[in-house]
């Protein structure tokens, strides 16, 4: 097998076995980037020189036996909203177009300690606001399965890079589905862990109470191994939780006998694509055949998740993004009259339309006289949604759902109707509101040849159960590569 086509864990094993060097691994990624990046555009920054140098250092530590972990020497791409010391971190925004952080995000540091080699920073929707990676200031990312379609978002760059085999795995972030939905659109595996599992220190905040970093990879095994590497209790993040266990790979068993899995009836709504629905029901059948007990149930409150999410996330974003003002770092307008004019022009010129829309929405729902009617009501809704899930998890080990109502839409088809775009988040958003873990795995392709993703949702801290189910399902089929990669492979 070619290096680029290996999973992270496969490659890591070969590196430990001295069959492949860390430098060769990086070269394989860079070679694939040379081949496909122009078409896919997964990256904002590719650090060719730095990454080779780092690979050499890591290789020395592998050779002398200091680095022995499963990810040592394996290249990784990091979403461009995670701070990397001295390396551009733009959030795909003009306002941070020149920003080089003075420290590295905790999750990335954890990877570095494990010997990971960062090859670059991946494209995203500006400040993670969007579902298509079309709102990036640095241009759209295209879906490797069909370059006329979006890769999903906001972690579209990370998911496209993995699907296009530009890197074995990547880090994404998920505030309302930003790992799971693009993973689904790109036919890769992505997990959003329980809120508090991965430190947010160094993740440039969008919706602080919802944001979580998570892995994007070719299979479930990789995701479990990567999550073991990045998860930690971080005293620098007050919302980080000291978990009882950080073992995830222990759950990779091909055995779901007796597990109880629920499918919310209320997820089968009008907007759900027929083919997607069929794929999910077929996958459920597969699990049933493997011995799981699958049944439909009523989750309730489904229709309230989207409004609650857009109120809470936008409110937090309006405040989180206030610091980008042209004073201390990032973009400052060329000419201005006074302080307020400088603020206004820098922010008007520095932010894109979707970001401005959410800042305005967030400022509105927090403004005096509206706070109770919108923000407080949204918080109460969030609590009720959490309760609805808690009730479900009294009965079920996990919940099955689509990751998105459709497969990847065509480029340009979503942004002119934001409300429709927001409705596309219906299956992912409530998981963030409730702080739950959710994984998206590929379960086939539709008639257009685009991947369909299935979501497995677990109760808080129950990552092991969803890894178990996802892994068991994964054993029933082969990982599928987009044509773009297969063609590349034939050369």
């Amino acid at each position: 097998m070619e290096i680029k086509s290996m999973t992270a864990v496969e490659l890591g094993k070969k590196i430990q076995a001295k069959e492949i060097s860390a430098v060769e691994a990086v070269r394989a990624s860079l070679a694939q980037i040379d081949k496909v990046e122009e078409q896919v555009h997964s990256f904002v920054t590719i650090d060719r020189a730095g990454t080779l140098q780092r690979a050499e250092e890591v290789q020395r530590q592998i050779s002398d036996g200091t680095l022995t972990g499963p990810l040592a020497g394996v290249p990784v791409a990091v979403k461009d909203n995670m701070c990397t010391k001295g390396m551009l971190t733009t959030c795909s925004s003009k306002i941070l177009g020149n920003f080089k952080p003075v420290f590295t995000a905790e999750a990335v540091r954890n990877l570095e300690k494990a010997g990971a080699v960062i090859i670059g920073k991946t494209n995203m929707d500006e400040f993670a606001m969007g579902s298509t990676t079309e709102t990036s200031y640095f241009g759209v990312t295209r879906n490797p399965w069909n370059l006329e379609h979006v890769p999903g978002g906001s972690s579209g760059g990370s998911c496209a890079a993995v699907a296009a085999e530009e890197c074995p795995y990547a880090l994404g972030s998920d505030t309302g589905g930003s790992i799971r939905q693009p993973s689904s659109f790109c036919g890769v595996v992505g997990i959003k862990p329980t809120y508090g599992t991965v430190s947010r220190y160094g993740l440039i905040a969008y919706g602080s109470s919802l944001d979580q970093i998570g892995p994007v990879a070719k299979d479930v095994t990789d995701c479990a191994a990567i999550l073991e590497a990045i998860a930690s209790h971080d005293p620098k993040d007050s919302t980080s939780i000291a978990r009882e266990s950080y073992d995830f790979t222990g759950a990779l068993r091909d055995d779901v006998k007796g597990m109880k899995i629920g499918i919310p009836q209320d997820y089968f709504i009008d907007g759900l694509d027929k083919e997607v629905k069929e794929h999910i029901l077929r996958a459920a059948k597969v699990l049933e055949e493997k011995g799981a007990v699958v049944e439909e149930f009523d989750l309730s409150l489904v229709q309230y998740a989207i409004p609650a999410y857009y109120v809470i996330a936008s409110a937090e974003a309006s405040s989180n993004l206030a610091r980008f003002d042209g004073v201390k770092y990032g973009y400052r307008t060329e000419e201005y009259e006074d302080l307020h004019n400088m603020y206004k022009k820098s922010r008007s010129e520095g932010f894109g339309a979707e970001v401005k829309r959410r800042i305005m929405l967030g400022s509105f729902v927090l403004s005096s006289g509206y706070y109770d009617a919108y923000y407080l009501k949204a918080l109460r809704t969030k609590a009720l949604i959490k309760q609805a899930f808690d009730r479900a998890f009294e009965k079920y080990d996990a919940i099955l759902a689509p990751a998105a109502p459709t497969t990847a839409p065509r480029l340009g088809a979503s942004l002119n109707d934001p409300l429709k775009m927001y409705l596309g988040d219906i299956y992912t958003i409530s998981v963030n509101l409730a702080g739950l873990p959710g994984i998206s795995i590929p379960v086939g392709t539709d008639s257009k040849g685009l991947p369909v993703g299935m979501q497995v949702i677990g109760s808080c801290f129950d990552e092991k159960k969803i890894f178990n189910i996802a892994y068991a399902y994964e054993q029933t089929g082969e990982y599928k590569r987009p044509a773009l990669v297969q063609e590349g492979g034939r050369e």
Binding site: L96, S208, S319, R323, Y329, L366, S367
Partner: protein
């Protein structure tokens, strides 16, 4: 008959807490360092940075709340206050609005013979902002983030005060409590205590409050008093002219003794407060409250009563000494060493207060040790040095905390008790001042003083004045 007006005042008092590190990061809170040397990604609002609460801030805030009879909010939270200004690197301040740490307290004040309670509406924790430095030559502004993230509590009183005297009594009471707790040095000049005055007037006997204004930039008790008088008169004048008071925020200019409106209610900002998602709720358990209570020091009123009993000093002395916890500590220690509390008290009340005033210092800034003061009392009491030498030595103690034993020894300041030597000097003084001798013998008691003075001078102040006096009387019989 002219209308009578009543002044109604409520205060918002910001107090900088004396923690070693900032409220949400581990940067030092030290005052007066080079700009931007006590900064990190958190207190400069770098993207991706997150706040972590300093536990000591909660302890101090809860201690102040308990000492001012507040209810402690056992599950309290931080909120974000959003506004754009460069001194605030995130463009929001982490503060408390919905669940402040303490509520519904009071402190008792005394003005003349009148005692009353000033109620505390609430007290909350928050972070301080950085400091803008305007370079007028260059037409630019620079920012120093050293102060950004220094912990503050804001104590909001009810509108319970009716005069500048009551305001000062309240502030002094609050300051003493906080200083006793060691929670802040509460210096108005340096800004570790900042006072905003909310004031309105109403016709005497009416219930309804008038429209209030808020006055800021008050850097001393004198400025507060002047600003209150000025604002009261300004509002009464407006009302007398049939105009209305507008609800504005005013800045006091102490040099010009006037205030001007900074902004009115119409352009008041909407701070869009919401719960700070980066911090978890703070749970203050009964056990924690009990621990904080157990650590509370003896406060001023307790000390005054004990001093009167234990040290047998008058109320007046006890009040002055306990006005500063530092001075009270010196008093207690020195008294226990030398066993002469009244003497120690005299040194503190007279000479110490005089020198503090002369140097423009606060009692908290006293640097001498109780040991050295005790030694001085003992030297003086045993007659080893006389009172004028003692005063001279005390000045040295006050300035450099010298060891009085050594200082007296090294400078040869011991009182000469050698009667032979004194006899010689006295004979000489009597011989050289015949007129005074005649006057004294003729009944002018004053003349004796002159002779004592001459003798002390001749002996370079080291004679025992009592002994000189007695001897002279004997010799001139």
């Amino acid at each position: 008959m002219a209308k009578q007006y009543e002044t109604v005042i409520g205060l918002e008092v910001h107090v900088e807490l004396a923690t070693k590190t900032k409220i949400f990061c581990s940067c030092s809170t030290e005052f007066g360092s080079a700009p931007n040397t006590h900064t990190c990604p958190v207190c400069t609002g770098m993207p991706g940075s997150l706040p972590v609460l300093n536990k000591q801030v909660v302890e101090y805030a809860a201690a102040i709340g308990l000492a001012t009879n507040c209810q402690i909010t056992q599950v309290c939270k931080f909120d974000r206050k959003n506004y754009f200004y460069p001194d605030n690197p995130q463009n929001y301040q982490i503060s408390q609005l919905y669940l402040p740490i303490a509520r519904n307290g009071y402190v008792e004040i005394e003005v003349g013979d009148m005692k009353k309670n000033v109620r505390i509406h609430e007290m909350h924790m928050e972070e301080d902002a950085g400091k803008l430095v305007h370079d007028e030559w260059d037409d630019t502004s620079l920012i120093d983030y050293n102060r950004s993230g220094v912990p503050l509590v804001e104590i909001v009183s009810e509108p319970d005060m009716r005069s500048a005297d009551e305001v000062i009594a309240y502030l002094e009471k609050l300051r003493t409590i906080i200083q006793y707790l060691g929670a802040s040095d509460c210096k108005l000049q340096e800004g570790s205590m900042r006072v905003d005055v909310n004031l309105s007037v109403r016709e005497a006997g009416t219930e309804k409050f008038g429209t209030r204004t808020e006055t800021k930039n008050l850097n001393s008790f004198k400025a507060i008093t002047r600003a209150i008088e000025h604002e009261r008169e300004r509002q009464i004048e407006l009302l007398e002219e049939g105009k209305t008071v507008t609800q504005d925020t005013r800045r006091w200019d102490d040099n010009k003794e006037t205030s001007y409106a900074m902004r009115s209610k119409e352009d008041a900002q909407d701070y869009r407060y919401f719960p700070e998602p980066d911090l978890v709720p703070i749970v203050i358990s009964d056990e924690w409250i009990a621990e904080i209570k157990a650590r509370q020091p003896e406060f001023r009123s307790g000390k005054i009563e004990r001093y009167k009993k234990e040290f047998d000093i008058p109320q007046y002395d006890a009040e002055i000494i306990t006005n500063s916890r530092h001075m009270a500590d010196i008093f207690e220690k020195a008294s226990s060493i030398c066993g002469k509390p009244k003497k120690v008290s005299n040194w503190l009340m007279v000479e110490t207060m005089r020198l503090l005033k002369e140097h423009g210092m606060e009692p908290e800034e006293i640097t001498f040790s109780p040991e050295n003061l005790a030694k001085l009392v003992m030297l003086s009491e045993s007659g080893t040095i006389n009172s004028s030498v003692a005063k001279e030595v005390f000045e040295k103690i006050f300035e450099n905390n010298v060891d009085p034993d050594k200082y007296v020894e090294e400078n040869g300041l011991k009182t000469v008790n050698d009667e032979g030597e004194l006899q010689k000097v006295l004979e000489k003084v009597i011989a050289e001042n015949p007129q005074a001798v005649v006057d004294y013998k003729g009944g002018k008691e004053k003349a004796l003083g002159a002779l004592v003075g001459q003798t002390m001078k001749a002996m370079k102040g080291k004679a025992n004045p009592g002994m000189v006096n007695q001897k002279l009387r004997e010799m001139l019989k």
